[in-house]
Amino acid sequence: MIKPWMLGCVAALALGACGKQSEPAATSEPAAERAGDKTLATGLAKNAKLAAAVKAAGLEATLAGPGPYTLIAPSDAAFEKLPAGALDTLMKPEGRAELTAVLTHHILPGTILAADIGKAIDAGGGKALIATIGGGTLTATREGAGILLADAAGTRAMVTAADQQRSNGVIHQVDSVLMPTQ
């Protein structure tokens, strides 16, 4: 039986996609120099699953580059809340496009501190819409003293540790993985 991902690979094979292993990549020297040492890429010591996903999607150089970006970083426990096998599927070569889409739903253009989100929430009458770099929107609200981020499907991710400032942006730790779909 032909499975959908196989058909996906049929299209991709024409482009040499499926099964091909990418070579290790680093960001360019000028980009690395501009980004500095304490980048978003090196700030994921406590986010092993996210770091692995970033590597699998080939986004390490982005997080080691000039940015700046705001990284919404799901904890390892957050990834464990996904349906069994989902992350493994995304981590396969044929899942890279979807993995990239999921990860870019956690990257925001520019440096957005928790206080900036809070101000936007207040100005927005209790909620703020925040663009992701991939073309999605997160909805931010206050939850007690903290900030809650939600995707379009209503998945709620609480910011558990905010404002980890890096040389090329800022990291907010969250307790759920947000999805770019409903």
């Binding site: 991902w5 058909l7 482009l15 986004l59 970006y69 890279r96 520019g110 663009a131 379009a152 779909t181």
Partner: protein
């Protein structure tokens, strides 16, 4: 809102993992002849539901968890397409004659609906060709990944996922109909006319035209599809294999080094010059802001980089937002983006 994308990879997530169903747990730039001179330069996931309807015409996969985690992929065939609506996608990524000229939010949404109508037509055609569609329901900006099952700039018609016939225009004279179609939105900053080249667009592609002779020198796919990235490992489409990094990033990702760099629909890719394989995504670009456009509603949060906050902070008379290497100023009253204030990368 309903989003349609072709099944290719998206369905892989939903369907290639049988365990999911069983567990219940849980722009574009640069084609044409290489120019040597420029070349140098909710946790817990509870129910997972799989539905198949209409003799395989429709497949719905839902993953829900903890009451708030949901990933749904619908794949349909036949004539069951519903009109797409970008809903809260407020970004004015206008193209060609659909360009928004200082309009308000309504005009933005209107333009986006037009854009989606165009996408839907394409998808309808794909469906007629017997290809499979994946629908993402989305009240928000939607997930439009591999539209037509292909990365940006590649044909959704036979032969599938090959560069569009548009690239054949390279080397030809720019059609007069496009001669006045200047780049708009962020692209007017990213690709600037110079003594050697000028840039125009037809809504689907950016044309780089050589002033000497007026021939199309390069073609950039202007796919503008959310969440649409070339996955690492695939070969960068040879017909777009030209150095086309947006102006503001060229010092970081120059020509002539150990790697090639290519821009395509929201990302700058590092490409192995020997194999043409994409090795890495080195930068992500949003493409959301442009002078003359309304500030998208999802840019309410101040996002200016730390080092620039002492100079560019919101006041009753001006608001500042960062995007893709630039800091933009907008009028808080009209929400119109009035100027590019600073280039910071």
């Amino acid at each position: 809102m309903v989003k349609w994308i072709l099944a290719a990879g998206a369905a892989a997530l939903a369907i290639s993992t049988p365990s999911l169903a069983q567990q219940g747990g849980g722009n574009k730039g640069g084609g044409g002849k290489p120019d040597k001179a420029e070349r140098g330069g909710g946790g817990g996931g509870k129910p997972v539901r799989v539905e198949q309807q209409g003799g395989g015409k429709q497949v719905r996969v839902e993953q829900r968890g903890g009451g708030n985690q949901q990933l749904r992929v619908d794949r349909k065939g036949g004539d069951t397409l519903r009109s797409a609506d970008k809903g809260e996608r407020m970004v004015a990524r206008s193209k060609g004659d659909d360009r928004i000229k200082g309009g308000g939010k309504d005009s933005v949404r209107s333009a986006e609906r037009r854009s989606d109508d165009r996408d839907l037509r394409n998808l309808d055609r794909d469906d007629v060709d017997g290809r499979r569609l994946v629908r993402f329901d989305d009240d928000d900006r939607g997930f439009r990944g591999l539209v037509g099952g292909c990365p940006p700039g590649l044909s959704k018609n036979p032969p599938f996922c090959m560069p569009s016939g548009q690239f054949k225009k390279i080397g030809s004279v720019l059609p007069a109909a496009f001669s006045s179609r200047m780049l708009d939105g962020p692209f007017q900053q990213w690709y600037r006319d110079d003594d050697r080249f000028f840039y125009r667009n037809d809504g689907d592609y950016i044309y780089r035209v050589n002033r000497d002779g007026g021939l199309i020198d390069a073609l950039f796919p202007l796919a503008d599809r959310d969440f649409s990235y070339y996955p690492i490992g695939m070969n960068y489409p040879s017909e777009f294999d030209q150095y086309n990094v947006p102006y503001q990033y060229r010092s970081f990702y120059p020509e002539g080094g150990a790697y090639d760099y290519r821009y395509g629909d929201g990302a700058i890719y590092q490409v192995n010059p020997s194999t043409n394989a994409i090795q890495s995504i080195v930068a992500l670009l949003a493409g959301d802001l442009g002078v003359g456009q309304p500030m998208p509603l999802n840019y309410g949060a101040y996002n200016v980089p730390i080092d620039y906050r002492d100079r560019y902070y919101d006041t009753p008379d001006a608001m500042y937002r960062y995007n893709d290497g630039y800091i933009y100023r907008a009028d808080p009253k009209t929400q119109l983006i009035t100027a590019v204030i600073d280039a910071i990368v």
